[in-house]
Structure formats: structure tokens, C-alpha cells
Subunit: 344 residues, 2 copies
């Protein structure tokens, strides 16, 4: 069977059909479909249609509200805008809060958007690109399930806690990074297990806290933070800021609540937006022009900018459409027919 070429809207229609069949309301469906399509468009298969089964499983387990109605709290007089996701996916909540966040950040120079009571299932770069799309620099973080041990410790206490940042560019896609604060994603360890391969050194410890290259032992133990104690410190900061400070779950609490890492995690999310125009006001030089000088120097030295590969895939998708295998199309059709019956 041949690969199938789809436009973004074709793919979006198919994804929305799956989500609607599973009982998701329009506002939830549209927001989740947008990020799944963006994942496929950008060649991030791990954040594309692959995620649909997890969405269905999480709905079926009753751990996300498919018809949640996010509520915006403008919190006037403050630099913090809040959205309560009402137990739904973070995506609709983010879309609801973004305009108020952007307005507040342009006015005050710096502002934060807190999303509470949400289920997160995607990368953070969609949020980052939302912020940069408003001409703002953005810093986004959230906890995850407790699967990472702080350096020197023997127990998983931190999540893979993604840390993401973006800077807007006038004539190019934004500077964006978005990475796990663990050495590797849990999925990569799972892939090693399935293919019977040993892990590289430094990825994980076993249940007794000893270094291991055995994927089974690693899954029963803990992953390690990137960059040793520095990565552990950043992961801990994310628990504090994007879990505890915003009054939402930490990674150990997420795992307790779900009892599984096979469901989309429930917690909160913290988005900080900063206006380069407001910060640079009265100072020499245009911040956006100066950033281009830095990016040119980085590229000129032989290094890459983060997201370059993703943006290349996007460019290709926008020209040529999104290619799925026939098996992927069949899978989508099956999920669209069976809905929640497609998952255990």
C-alpha cells in the first residue's frame, strides 16, 4: 500500500472525527487537533497522531473531561492571568488565555499565564509559538510524572519536566527550544526495551539507585536528569514554579493521581511572557535586529538553531502536504469508527 498525502485541513478533519467520536466537545477537539496536526506537519511523530490513543485512554479512564469548559480569570490589577482548564486538555485553556496574557505582557512588560487543572499531552512548543506570535519572548514549563531521580538520589521524584523558550523573529520562524530536563525521553527507553538494545551510559539508574544500561531495570528505576546536578536543579525549579507555586500537582502527585504513565498527565502549566520592546525601551539598539546578529553568528560558526529540523519539515509539509503511511490512515479510520472502544 502506498503512502497518502494529506493537506493540513484533511488531516485536521480526520483527527477531529476521532476526537468527536470519543465524546470531546468542539472547543476541546479543535484545540487538541491543532497541536496534533502541527506535530505531524513539523515531522514530530511523537507528538502527532501517535498521541491519539493516549487521549482516548485518558478519556476512558476518566482522567480528563472531554467536554471541559475552560474558564478565564483575568485577575485584573495583577500581572498574572489564570485559566482553569476544568479538567480538560491544556490546549483549549491556553488558547483562551493567550490573548489576555499577550495584552498584559505588552502593557506591563512581563506577565504570566497560569493554567490549572489541565491534562497535558503535547510538547510545549505550540504554547511557545503562540507567545512569540504575539511579538513576545516566552518561557514555558510544566511538571510530568515522577520518573527522574535528582542527581545522587535513588528514587524518581521529578518529571521529565519540559523547559521551553521562544524569541520572536520578524522574517523567520521564531527561535524556539523545548526539551525534557531528563537525559532522554521515557519513550526512548521504551524503544530500546522493545528492540532489545542496551541504553547508553548515564541515562538511568535501577530500583536500587545503581547506574544501569538495561531498559527493563531503568523503567523499574529512574531516568537521570540532563547535565547532572544542573539539570536536576532545573527540573526541581519546574516542580516548584509550575507545580507548587501555581497551586497544582507536582510530578510525584501526578503519578499518584494517575497510577500509570500510560495516561496523559494532569497538572498545571506556567507561561511567562516578556515584551522585548518594553524591556529595551530607552536603550540603544533594536532588540529584534540585535537578536538576528546573534543568530547569524551562531549559524555562521557551524552550530544550528534549535527547531531547525522541525521548521524544515514544516516548510516541506506546507508545500507538499503531510504524508502518512497507509497503516497510519487505517489506524485513524479505525479510531474514528471505534472511538473509546478502540482502547483498553
Amino acid at each position: 500500500m502506498d503512502d497518502v498525502n494529506l493537506s493540513q485541513s484533511d488531516l485536521s478533519g480526520r483527527v477531529m472525527a476521532v476526537l468527536s467520536k470519543a465524546g470531546m466537545s468542539t472547543v476541546q477537539t479543535e484545540a487538541v487537533a491543532r497541536v496534533i496536526v502541527a506535530g505531524e506537519r513539523d515531522g514530530c511523530k511523537s507528538h502527532g497522531i501517535y498521541r491519539l490513543e493516549g487521549v482516548l485512554r485518558t478519556i476512558k479512564a476518566g482522567k480528563v473531561k472531554p467536554d471541559a469548559v475552560p474558564v478565564l480569570d483575568l485577575n485584573e490589577g495583577s500581572a498574572i492571568v489564570k485559566v482553569n482548564a476544568d479538567g480538560g486538555f491544556a490546549n483549549a485553556a491556553f488558547e483562551l488565555g493567550l490573548p489576555a496574557l499577550a495584552e498584559r505582557a505588552h502593557k506591563l512588560g512581563i506577565a504570566a499565564l497560569v493554567i490549572n487543572d489541565c491534562t497535558h499531552f503535547s510538547a510545549l512548543w505550540p504554547e511557545v509559538e503562540g507567545v512569540t506570535g504575539a511579538g513576545l519572548a516566552g518561557l514555558v514549563m510544566c511538571p510530568s510524572y515522577a520518573t527522574v531521580a535528582p542527581t545522587g538520589g535513588s528514587k524518581p521524584l521529578l518529571g521529565t519536566n519540559p523547559f521551553a523558550f521562544g524569541w520572536p523573529r520578524a522574517n523567520a520562524l521564531p527561535y524556539v527550544f523545548d526539551f525534557a530536563t531528563s537525559v532522554a525521553a521515557r519513550g526512548e527507553i521504551e524503544l530500546h526495551r522493545r528492540s532489545g538494545k542496551q541504553l547508553p551510559d548515564g541515562w538511568a539508574i535501577d530500583a536500587d539507585g545503581n547506574p544501569t544500561t538495561d531498559p527493563e531495570a531503568a523503567l523499574a528505576g529512574a531516568m537521570l536528569p540532563f547535565g547532572g546536578h544542573k539539570g536536576a536543579a532545573i527540573g526541581t525549579m519546574i516542580e516548584l514554579l509550575a507545580g507548587i507555586m501555581i497551586g497544582d500537582l507536582t510530578s510525584p502527585e501526578v503519578l499518584d493521581y494517575l497510577g500509570s504513565t500510560a495516561l496523559s498527565p494532569s497538572h498545571g502549566e506556567l507561561i511567562v511572557a516578556m515584551s522585548p520592546r518594553a524591556f529595551a525601551a530607552g536603550r540603544p539598539g533594536d532588540p529584534f535586529a540585535r537578536a538576528e546578529v546573534l543568530f547569524d553568528a551562531i549559524l555562521g560558526s557551524g552550530a544550528r538553531l534549535p527547531s531547525q529540523r522541525r521548521y524544515a519539515a514544516r516548510e516541506k509539509s506546507l508545500t507538499d502536504g503531510i504524508t502518512l503511511t497507509a497503516a497510519e490512515i487505517e489506524h485513524l479510520d479505525r479510531l474514528g469508527e471505534l472511538g473509546l472502544d478502540a482502547v483498553a
Copy 2:
């Protein structure tokens, strides 16, 4: 000759004598002396009296204004407070801006302090502890000299760009981390060179961009970021936020301006303060109590909290005084007598 035991105020008097003799005004002297004494108190020799010669060299080179008068711009109606350091050290500027930053952050939930036109010569933890002392979480960053190559690049374009964070604790010293976003500090490479030792793998590249363990080649080449491309991304973010966004120098510009890494770097600094009380308002649980649960779990798992060693040294110093070697005392005396004549 024996070691000498000093009280904090004894040491402070000696340090202030050196700085005054070098022509520094009272406001500059007191702020710089406070962080030098704090460095010695906390057993951070690399941020203690060792730094005095660099201060004197920088004054003598005309690259810092010893009698600078920092100016506070309250920037009413915004969440950004600014201090222009007037070409003086960052420390006096920070002390001037901190009360306004704290007031703004308590009121708005999140606020930023920008320091412009300053010379930085210390760690960032004194700033972080200033913010946590006001009951706020703090994120602090600044550029440095361009000595670090982005992963995959062959040229030093980033500084060692410290990244620091703090969380206030009611009955303990704050949770604080403060680290360079390079694998190692430049001083560590210098120490290897002096003692004729090879560097560990992964610390540096030579001038052609090839990995090297030769300290001379590393000093002529570039250091590497911690954690590979993730650390490089954070280092780049710091150039963008704490250099370009605040309208101040980036690390390559700092190096161009100074022409040397032997002088204290001139640039700006970004301090973001967040109120856990404001963020957590209306949500279940007390954020400070919940953070203690996380810290207890980390310690209970055999891991350490950052700054533990520094705090142990502080406790000892507060009980027993600060111990300097006789050679260090002689050195202080010499600097106090000769002032700027003590340095080339």
C-alpha cells in the same frame, strides 16, 4: 605563620579599606564588600577576597566607575523596575532596586528588575538570596565574556552565562542554585593549565573547533556548554533575555569592549521575582509547606539540595568566624596599602 580568625565585620572593614583606597565611593564599597565577605563566609573562595585584584584592575583600566551613582527608574504602571548602574558595580544597583522589585512582585505577582550599564564580578546567589529574603521566588541571569561555543559550532559566542534560581523557606536558608551554563568555569581550565593537567573530555574545543583536553588549546579555543545542545540553548536564551532584551551587551560585545577576560565584565542583569502567595491564591495547599515536602523527599532519597555545602560553611563561619591564612591577610594588607598600585 598561623591562620587568622576574623569576624564578618573585621573582614568587612579590611575589604572596605582596600576598596576605599582604590577610590571607590561609600555606596559602591559597601555593596561590593558585602558580597566579598559573603563569599568568604560561605566558603566560596573563588568569589571572596580573591576577586579584589580583579576589581582593582578593572578600576585601573577605566572599565568600571568607582564612584558611580546608580539611578532607580520606577517605571510606574509597569512590572519592570530599572536601575542604571551608571557604569559601577551591579551590587549597589541591585541593592537600590530590590525594594521596588519586591513591592512590585508582591503587588502584581510577577515583576522584573533590569540592571543596565553595570560591571558584574560576583556570583548571582547574593541577588537570589535578596529576592528570597523578600518572600519571593527569583530567577536571575546575565551574560559574561564570549568564551563558550554553541554545540556544533567552532567559535566562542556565548558567555559562561550563569543561571540562578531561589525559593524562599520559612525555617531554613532558601533553596538556591547558581551555576555556569558552561561545563566548567574558565578558572578551572586555568587551574589545569597551571598544574600541567589535561582537561576531562567534553570540556572544550580548540581554535579549529576540534575536541581538546589540552588547557592551552582550550583557552585559545572555546569552552563547551553543559548538557550539550540543551545547555547551549539556555546559554543563548540568557544572551537574548539578559543581554539583548534589556538593551545591554551580549557576551561577544562584552569581550570586544573589554579586550580581555582579566577584567570584570560589563553588561546588564535580569532578575525576575515571583510571589508564590499571589500565584497560589485560591488554590489548595500552602506553597511553602508543599515545597518542604518536596525538599524532604529529595533529601530522603539520598540526593542533596544545591547550596548545602555553602550553607554548612556559612553556619560554621557564623559560629566560629571566618578563617584566612596569614598569606591572605598579608595580601589584604598589601592591597590596602598600595591601592591601584598593587595591580598592573
